[in-house]
């Protein structure tokens, strides 16, 4: 048996030179220090993404997009398809946990300044993956075509209309018409199962490639430590096994959530019905939504809502470009301003999210 394995390995190595890759992997190591825990959140995000892909494909076997079939097919999945309820519930829970893991991953990279040279593009691709994850969440939320999703999408897409000059045209492109209809559902479906997965996979591949090539970032304070004081653990198998351990725990949490708190389907969307009270977007959009709600109708000479969109866009771009303007850290100095900005953003997001729930 061992011989067969060796022969198989040799067969592949002869053709694809995998020995070199194995060699590279076996020498790969991960820094071990008091902030090492944050290294795992990238892996958790990846694991949850894999769950999303697998459960998403399974849902796709029964899901039928359309005003007259989306809700009905999801209802069929959760009530008739064997284990359909479990797959759908895991898909919804995993989506939320993935966004949470991606946020934690991003803030941990930010506060540990792991974005600094030479990992600027890892940060940028990571940020793009966050934006794509949020788009995944927004487009997927509408697909069951239930009342809450319908009105949340209506309110969410309306924000696009506040952009001057091109807003209205852009809104029509996003919605596939003036209003949220079956056309919106169709394009959100296309976005969710074809366009986004394609782009996401490519960027994810690049992101992981960068991580593999450059390895894990070491904390800035290590640069002053003598090499013998720097501790490492092998990537394979130690780090990977730890990763696997966490993944199994996450899987357990997902199973418990899916069984004890199955995701509701709610009532079917009725475009002619009045919007139910307390319509709000998913929790990860709530800080932006709440900000837009609290803004006055006019800020200076521009529409309040557009002002909010403008601020978030500029802030997002600045956030994405942080490795390029944080020159102090790059040169090996402590940059406290970065920490203050990060703390402000974090506190702002948490406060606005809590306000969003408390004020509705």
């Amino acid at each position: 048996m061992a011989k067969f394995g060796e022969r198989l390995f040799n067969w592949f190595d002869e053709r694809y030179k995998i020995r070199g890759f194995i060699e590279f992997m076996s020498h790969k190591s991960v820094p071990q220090h008091r902030h090492s825990i944050w290294y795992y959140f990238g892996g958790v995000s990846l694991f949850l993404f894999i769950i999303q892909v697998v459960t998403g494909i399974l849902l796709l076997l029964y899901y039928r997009v359309g005003e007259d079939s989306s809700y009905e097919s999801v209802q069929f999945i959760v009530s008739k398809v064997k284990f359909g309820w479990l797959i759908r519930s895991i898909h919804s829970w995993s989506a939320n946990l993935m966004i949470l893991a991606v946020f934690i991953h991003m803030f941990s990279v930010y506060f540990t300044k792991a974005y600094r040279k030479p990992r600027e593009l890892t940060w940028v691709t990571g940020f793009l993956l966050l934006i794509l994850s949020l788009t995944f969440g927004f487009s997927g939320y509408l697909l069951p075509w239930n009342e809450l999703a319908f009105f949340a999408t209506k309110v969410g897409t309306e924000i696009i209309g506040s952009i001057p000059v091109i807003g209205k045209e852009l809104l029509i492109i996003v919605r596939g018409g003036e209003d949220v209809t079956g056309a919106t559902l169709s394009r959100f479906f296309g976005l969710h199962v074809a366009i986004l997965p394609g782009i996401f996979t490519v960027i994810l591949f690049i992101h992981l490639l960068f991580v593999q090539i450059q390895g894990m970032s070491e904390p800035p304070e290590w640069e002053k430590l003598p090499p013998e004081k720097r501790k490492y653990i092998p990537f394979f198998p130690n780090f990977l096994l730890r990763d696997l351990l966490l993944w199994l725990i996450i899987l357990n949490i997902l199973a418990v959530l899916a069984v004890f708190f199955p995701w509701d389907l709610g009532k079917k969307a009725d475009p002619f019905a009045p919007a139910p009270a307390g319509i709000k977007p998913e929790w990860y959009f709530l800080f932006m939504y709440q900000t837009l709600k609290l803004l006055p109708p006019k800020v200076l000479f521009i529409e309040g809502e557009f002002f909010g969109v403008l601020i978030f866009t500029v802030a997002g771009i600045l956030w994405m470009l942080v490795p390029f303007w944080d020159v102090k850290t790059e040169k090996g100095y402590r940059n406290r301003l970065i920490n203050y900005i990060g703390l402000f953003v974090l506190i702002y997001m948490i406060t606005m999210t809590i306000l969003g729930y408390a004020l509705s």
Binding site: S79, P237, L241, R242, L244, L245, L248, L251, A255, V259
Partner: protein
């Protein structure tokens, strides 16, 4: 005799009063013209009260000169037509003070009521159409055209004339008078009993509205009270030897509650069973036909039951023997079977076939009701556990329908037909119970599945943790 003398005396006084006060109109028309109106007028209630021709027609009753007396300058209007007739009558009849002078207690709102009524347009009717002219009598005067014995014929002058009625309401039947003659009311009035209902007793006199107008006294939900005016008055009805508790019973009945409490206008009022113009208690043999007008299926099933023939032979009132008449309550399963509350045991005794059929039918209905309620409880439990049983819940909706059908089929008294109807109900309940139990099983299966998978994953986690420790120790 004394009254007659008083009447003659007052007539004499009035005539002489008119002559003596110099009512030129009356004197001249009586002596020189000799027309019909003047001939009739001394018999008119107004003549006796000293009302002159000029009071209605205008002009100067004191002038001997015809040209002056009947001149426009003196307000002479000639023979009033259309709306002018009512305005002439109204001059006194809408004025409390004037009417008071004559000691009259006649309601001065009559015209207002009349104007709003279905007859209120002058081309249909005016005061004189019903009360006559120049020989108007008090309504209590047997000579009055609106006296009960005359009133029916008065109304039928128009209402029985199909050609005339077409002009106003082509859909309105014109057989009311014919039907009325067949009713108990009609037959009695022909014998001179003025206590029975005539047209105005039900439709009112001046404020008559279409029967489908909620203001009408014969509107579906008002009609029972209209009938009860006489039929619930024990004093008034004394001598007719019929009960006076029909209204009291009716309001408690399923029909009364539907019509009067729920406002369901399709529910029967008195007239729907007894007829309206031809009102008469339905005969023993016609009860099932009367009830069958609405309860068609029950009536059809009853007509082919063994009961139909026996009831006819023994003169047993069909539907009424089980359901009652005015106090028809919502039928319950208690009415069926062989318990003390059952109606079947009124005729059937233990050992006979009907007794056995009634017992079996009741048992089967009770079984379905109990099993359906158990199935519902199982669905409730499954739903409470968060399971989706909407399909089973939907299927369960057919059970009440089957129960309604089954309870209807009782009227055939045919056990085989009854079984055929109720059996689909048992099948549904079986399927629903199974779906509910499956859902509950699935609930526990999920919990167990979760428990087992959590256990496996936990074991894996521990194993992995130990493996990591082992590897790290080696280093």
């Amino acid at each position: 005799m004394r009254r007659f003398i008083v009447l003659i005396l007052s007539l004499f006084i009035s005539v002489s009063a008119l002559s003596q006060t110099g009512d030129g109109c009356y004197n001249c028309h009586k002596d020189a013209v000799g027309d019909k109106a003047t001939e009739l007028y001394p018999g008119d209630v107004h003549f006796k009260l000293g009302i002159s021709c000029a009071d209605c027609h205008g002009g100067d009753k004191t002038s001997d000169d015809m040209d002056v007396a009947m001149s426009k300058e003196k307000g002479y209007i000639g023979v009033p037509k259309g709306d002018k007739i009512t305005s002439v009558c109204l001059r006194c009849h809408s004025d409390d003070a004037i009417m008071g002078k004559f000691g009259s207690k006649i309601d001065v709102k009559q015209f207002k009521l009349f104007k709003a009524s279905v007859h209120g347009k002058s081309e249909i009717a005016t005061c004189v159409t019903c009360h006559g002219v120049h020989n108007i009598k008090k309504v209590t005067d047997p000579a009055s055209p609106v006296y009960p014995t005359s009133e029916v014929r008065l109304c039928s002058r128009c209402h029985s004339d199909a050609n005339y009625m077409k002009r106003f309401n082509p859909a309105l039947p014109t057989d009311q008078f014919e039907k009325y003659k067949t009713s108990v009311h009609g037959q009695r009035i022909l014998k001179g009993d003025v206590k029975v209902a005539t047209c105005s007793d039900c439709h009112s006199a001046h404020d008559i509205f279409k029967a489908n107008d909620p203001r009408s006294t014969v509107f579906a939900s008002t009609l029972p009270k209209t009938c009860a005016k006489c039929h619930s008055d024990a004093d008034y009805m004394r001598g007719y030897k019929i009960p006076t508790d029909q209204y009291e019973k009716y309001v408690q009945s399923v029909h009364g509650k539907a019509l009067l409490e729920k406002g369901d206008l399709s529910a029967p009022a008195c007239n729907d069973c007894h007829g309206n113009h031809g009102a008469i208690p339905p005969g023993v043999k016609s009860i099932s036909h009367v009830c069958g007008v609405c309860h068609a299926l029950n009536a059809e099933m009853f007509s082919r039951s063994p009961h139909a023939e026996v009831f006819e032979k023994k003169n047993i009132p069909q539907c009424e023997i089980c359901h009652g008449n005015h106090l028809i309550e919502h039928p319950t399963d208690e009415m069926l079977g062989v318990s003390t509350k059952s109606t079947c045991i009124k005729c059937h005794k233990e050992g006979d076939k009907g007794f056995e059929v009634a017992r079996q039918m009741r048992d089967m209905i009770d079984t379905l009701v109990v099993r359906a309620s158990k199935a519902k409880a199982i669905l409730d439990e499954a739903e409470y556990k968060g399971m989706d049983v909407s399909d089973a819940r939907y299927e369960m909706n057919d059970v009440p329908q089957i129960l309604i059908k089954t309870r209807t089929v009782i009227h055939t008294a045919n056990l085989n037909e009854f079984k055929e109807t109720i059996e689909p109900g048992y099948e549904i309940v079986d399927r629903v119970t199974k779906s509910g139990l499956d859902a509950i099983y699935e609930y526990y299966f999920r919990r167990w599945g979760l428990g087992i998978s959590t256990l496996i994953i936990t074991v894996l986690v521990i194993a992995l943790y130990l493996k990591i420790k082992q590897i790290e120790k080696k280093r």
